[in-house]
Symmetry: D3
Subunit: 140 residues, 6 copies
């Protein structure tokens, strides 16, 4: 049990919140502002808590590259089932921003049929297909 | 999006980690040390992250008393099913420390049969009964 | 194993169905009729079964006040994830009817991020925010 | 919304509790007593509630034979995952009592790999294999 | 560990894929083509994989009749919760094609309230009621 | 909808079962035999089905490297909760065989606290720590 600035993150003498904001700037600039505007009146500090905990305390850790972390998140959200559709969509965007390509993301979603069952995989497949179609429509 | 010390916690000008440690001192003194000794070699900062996030960022919030927060946690862990048995046990102890009595905890577990199904409720009932038996054996 | 009118509910010498109807009258008058009209043709007795089991056999029990019971239900439905959105909405209304305030309900939903994960909490947050907005729009 | 003795169960003018006890007598005589002895001190009325609700209000309904109902229960408990192992075991015994054979039960468990994922199916397979081995050891 | 054509399926000396296609032809002719057109560009071989695995390797097995298999699937999809709504709908249609009647399907869905909780059962009830209403509207 | 040997796997003109066996030989030689001996009497063809479906139809696909696939599996099994402990353990071994190191696996498990909740992550952490301790004890 040590200070907020530990051996695990040496060379990055920031608070967890600062480390989280640095990751979010890379994956989805403006995310904290969007979350703040949506949630802060009802849930004070929620946006900050999410950035500090999820990105500052977990994604910012050493030992696993950001792209693989995002692929793992896509895997988990798919396996957990269709209830996490909106979060799966956002994390597919984050995974692309972290360097994953579409093929990799489609593959990991399909693979989840072994672990979360076919319905969970199909729900994830539908989320990815809709996102990519919308991205293509915007780009054309 | 504001600083780490927000309106929600005014009058407690601490960091989230400090606020979390204050709650843990009330519910389960020594918990962070136990977690550190068990997990920190493999998972650096995990104990600190848990205290900061769960207790400093959530349980420390205003708007809901600690006892009701712990009863809600017992409800959730029961509904989520038997996989969370060890966490249910610890949180039953925390709920007692927060002022809940055994009857209240048994009632909330039983009620979960409506939401998580009968098997989840029965698994929770078994966890509570074993804990209370062990507590009584120690006390006699 | 005793009769339908047990020591647990002495002083309330009613059947479980009668006890359930008394609770429902307090939380959501007309609920059984609404459920009957919607479901009874396809699912004979379903409305009665729900009132008898959930409210007569569980919520009507002694040992935990109705407000805390409803907060526990909100906790469980949030932790179980977005699939339970419609039921979460109804139970938020029931919780308000049982004396909980909005702040308490928002807090317990947010707290579930520790147990059901961030996506489950965010889905619950969205359900609550939409309900409260609609209530405010109706009241203005 | 009618009386406790409805068209759905005409010819069986019993209360839900009586109907439940008749089913339990067929599937697992003594179950209510076992549950009462184990749970009633801590959870008054729980055994009665389970018999009334699960067996009297659901299994006792017309429209689906008891054997198929038990096979459906085995399917659900398998798909829900290993947390329901103890309940799966009891319901495998009930399914055999309702006329299902081992092959049918093994098949339905295996089939759940499509819906609950391979790990859930394998956990169910292990529960069934252990039960059948113990039954054979007792019978030899 | 034997060849693809085993004792379990003797008299049907087909590959798993061929066996799966024979079942699908019975339950839902054209399903593989529909899945291929929807998914094969993004997920090559997915339709074939689903037919081979789910229908050729599991539903095609001996030891349990197709109607009961489909009822078991309806049970599992209901218990797993609302996230599987689209798959529940398709499998209700398959169950009718396999010889189940509506009453049987409504009953098994309702029964799941014991195992997956009331919210999961209610979500399943709504899916079935909507399907049957649409079927009746088409038939009138 | 094409033959069993598709464009997706060109250059590997094998059946799905043969492709699956090639992957298993790399990750865990002897796995199919172990599964056959344990399950084939009760569940004919199960071992073959698992190898064909999970490894031949999914892990053998192009588009995502085997190491990342195994990390994704570890993520999913952790997020799905403690019920999948035995499968998590086997897949941690497979992930090491596919080139992942311990640090990467510990990190992905910890990260799942955001998606599957803290209890699921802690259960996964315990599985990994026990496996690594046993591996070290065997190696010393």
């Amino acid at each position: 049990m040590t200070s907020n600035t530990t051996a695990d993150t040496q060379g990055s003498p920031q608070t967890a919140l600062e480390r989280g904001r640095a990751i979010v700037a890379q994956l989805n600039p403006g995310l904290e502002e969007v979350l703040s505007q949506r949630y802060d009146e009802q849930f004070p500090d929620f946006a900050e808590t999410l950035v500090e905990f999820a990105y500052g305390r977990l994604y910012a850790r050493e030992g696993l590259d950001l792209k693989t972390r995002q692929i793992a998140t896509v895997a988990a959200l798919t396996a957990l089932g269709g209830q996490t559709g909106p979060q799966l969509r956002v994390n597919l965007e984050h995974a692309l921003a972290a360097g994953a390509n579409r093929r990799e993301l489609l593959e990991v979603i399909l693979q989840m049929s072994v672990y979360g069952g076919m319905p969970a995989a199909i729900n994830g497949m539908n989320v990815a297909m809709q996102l990519f179609e919308e991205q293509d429509a915007l780009a054309s």
